[in-house]
Amino acid sequence: MTPAPRRLVLSAADFESLVRRAGVRLPPPFSVESPPADRDGTGPVHPSLAANLAVLARPDLLVRVDADLPAGVSRAVFAVAGPVGASLFARARADGRSASSRAEGAVELSMFAGTWLGRELIRAVPDPPSAGVGSSLAPDGGSPRWDGRRVSRTALTEYGAARRLVGPREAAVALGLTDADADLLADLTDRTQGSLRALVHGRPHGADRGVLVGRVVWVATDAGWFELAPSDVDEVELVRVTRERIGTRLAPMIAQVLAEVDNDAA
């Protein structure tokens, strides 16, 4: 039976000390920038912790998940090397209880079986902002019919500012929007409260075959998470997703990295 993940919550000072003693370079935003000067005093690094850090320092697959919501900000990285996975996680809450400085913060260090990656990724996706009472009592449960809708990416980027500058009608005309599209954009603009960005990286070993990189972007609305999936020329498709879908949505990129790394090692 596969062992369950193991986690360690460290203060910033303890985390930085551990990283320096291990002498490893960790992926951003968890890089400890000071040189490994302080190796005295506290003894060797526990082999399991050293292995945990080693996975993060030399991953075959690296996934970074950043989420910015009204309730707070979270940053996480996940690494897989061989059969083992590891992660780092930090969060700053928006309720005034966040650490006032980097030094006061904390970080969670985890190690898990690689096949648990999908379960671990879910932890990095916060719950979307909750719907207000009014929308939750709406006939459609406050869930707009956005799923599967395709919209112009230019309009997504420009509509909000244009509406504020020249008004909704003029903005819709300027962007060539139908009434339905303008309504959709107004609704989506008003109800978007945050975003999640997931980056997937890999680098085949050996010859310079470049770096594999993929990105998934979700927006957090009071009706839940929606992915902005590229679909056509200047067009994205709105795909309704849930926290639990993160692994499935990243699967094509993760599969590609694993295949490329393996091909290269073979």
Partner: protein, 452 residues
């Protein structure tokens, strides 16, 4: 003499400078609005001035005219009040735009930092790990065969937690300055940064007779995998995005269609297709993903070109992302009445959280040691129309555990010999596609699906 082409970033023409200008403009707009508001307030106060009010007793008509004129100049559509409001709106919009661009800029810096880290570890710049680690030094987790990683995991001094989806509860901090994207505009801009635009373009590659699996009717699951693996192997380099449609013609002339959908490779190269800092990293970037919609559109087009009608039985067979696309396509094709998808077979695809129409029989084969197959973090639904076959096959490499040929082909051969009731029922229901009866024939047409 030919002058060298220059590449310039940063400086007065850089995006930071432009954002500073934008914010300056916002501040000026806000200052202007404040100034207009102050004048506006003083002008409105004139109407309440004691002397002016007193004059109304002596010349009430004149007072009304004066008040009307003043209010028109202040509150009319072109008045000072309206101008103040417009300036405030403008300042707000400019501030929001600047914040959005800064958030995108920050996200791009994060991307570049991550890429630099990836390039760095690939170059072997990681220091050697402590002596205390012994044989389990940096990289040995991956490199040393036979390392007992499960022992290391079990000996880890941390807390045990195997709950799915529980967010970390004790964490607060260790974040540097952040300017994350919280608005729709920023998120949409980020989508466009990596992926070039394009529509699904399907190019017929003709009848494929190069492999036995393309000309012999598939008798069972092993033949399905052989054909899919052949297409997967073929879909490399400039053949990426290849799929095929195996047209199975029965002895009675009936036709059924099997679509082979490999997992995708990198379809786009980011450098050269984008301006800006991504080109300055000094390594080739291969952008992944973002293709599922185009892929699915291409499958529909390929089926039409192969002659499939709305009533002909269709089986979609996919590996990895191909399995996800096959499942999504089955949903859409059935929901819109485009094709009569009756069967879906997936290998190494995380489909546990994907719905399947009740009318579609689905068989999913998953290696317990395949990371990709378990990215859904969920068991496949146990329903009458969904059969999941799991097996243990650990080759010590993530890619091989996910490989069609290495891991899934042997499993498919075992599946052909299986007498499990669910497997037998699926095989029997798929007789339009699988079987070696006399008179059955197959012709395979290959297509390339790209965003162009």
């Amino acid at each position: 003499m030919t002058l060298p082409e220059l590449s310039v970033s940063g400086g007065a023409g850089g995006i930071t400078a432009e954002l500073d200008d934008l914010e300056l403009l916002a501040r000026r707009s806000a200052d202007d609005a404040a100034e207009y508001a102050a004048i506006d307030g003083r002008a409105h106060a004139i109407l309440l001035d004691g002397d002016v009010l007193a004059s109304a007793v002596l010349d009430p008509i004149g007072m009304v005219r004066f008040a009307e004129a003043l209010l028109e100049s202040l509150d009319g559509p072109h008045g000072l009040t309206a101008l103040t409001v417009r300036m405030e709106l403008r300042a707000g919009a400019l501030r929001a735009a600047a914040a959005s661009y800064r958030a995108v800029d920050a996200a791009q810096r994060d991307l570049i930092d991550s890429i630099r880290f990836v390039v760095g570890f690939g170059l072997g710049t990681v220091p050697v790990v402590p002596l205390a680690l012994g044989l389990a030094g940096v990289g040995t987790v991956r490199l040393v065969a036979g390392l007992n990683w499960e022992s290391l995991l079990t000996a880890h001094p941390g807390l045990v937690d195997d709950l799915v989806g529980v967010s970390p509860g004790l964490i607060d901090g260790l974040l540097g300055p952040h300017a994350g994207a919280t608005d729709l505009a920023s998120a949409a801009r980020l989508v466009g940064e990596l992926y070039p635009d394009g529509s699904a373009v399907v190019t017929p590659l003709g009848l494929d007779t190069r492999d036995r699996s393309m000309v012999v009717p598939p008798a069972g699951f092993a033949d399905l995998v052989t054909g899919l693996a052949y297409r997967d192997d073929d879909a490399t380099a400039d053949r990426q995005g290849d799929i095929d449609v195996r047209v199975v013609t029965g002895a009675d002339g009936s036709r059924s269609y099997i679509v082979d959908i490999p997992g995708t490779k990198d379809w786009h190269l980011a450098p050269g297709q984008h301006d800006g800092p991504l080109n300055d990293i000094g390594t080739n970037l291969h952008a992944m993903g973002g293709e599922s919609t185009a892929y699915e559109q291409g499958i529909g087009e390929a089926l039409r070109r192969a002659g499939a009608g709305a009533g002909d039985p269709v089986m979609l067979v996919g590996h990895s992302q191909g399995g996800i696309v096959a499942t999504d396509a089955a949903n859409h094709f059935v929901a819109h009445g485009q094709f009569n998808v009756t069967h879906v077979v997936t290998f190494g695809a995380p489909v546990g959280r994907l719905d399947v129409p009740d009318s579609v029989a689905m068989l999913s084969v998953e290696n317990n040691n395949d990371i990709v197959a378990h990215l859904d973090a969920a068991d496949n639904p146990d329903t009458p129309n969904r059969t999941t076959v799991s097996f243990d096959d650990d080759h010590g490499r993530m890619g091989e555990n996910h490989s069609l040929e290495v891991s899934y082909a042997p499993a498919a051969r075992a599946l052909d010999a299986s007498t499990d009731a669910s497997v037998v029922a699926f095989r029997d229901s798929a007789s339009a596609f699988l079987g070696d009866e006399p008179g059955r024939a197959v012709s395979t047409y290959a297509y390339q699906v790209r965003r162009g």
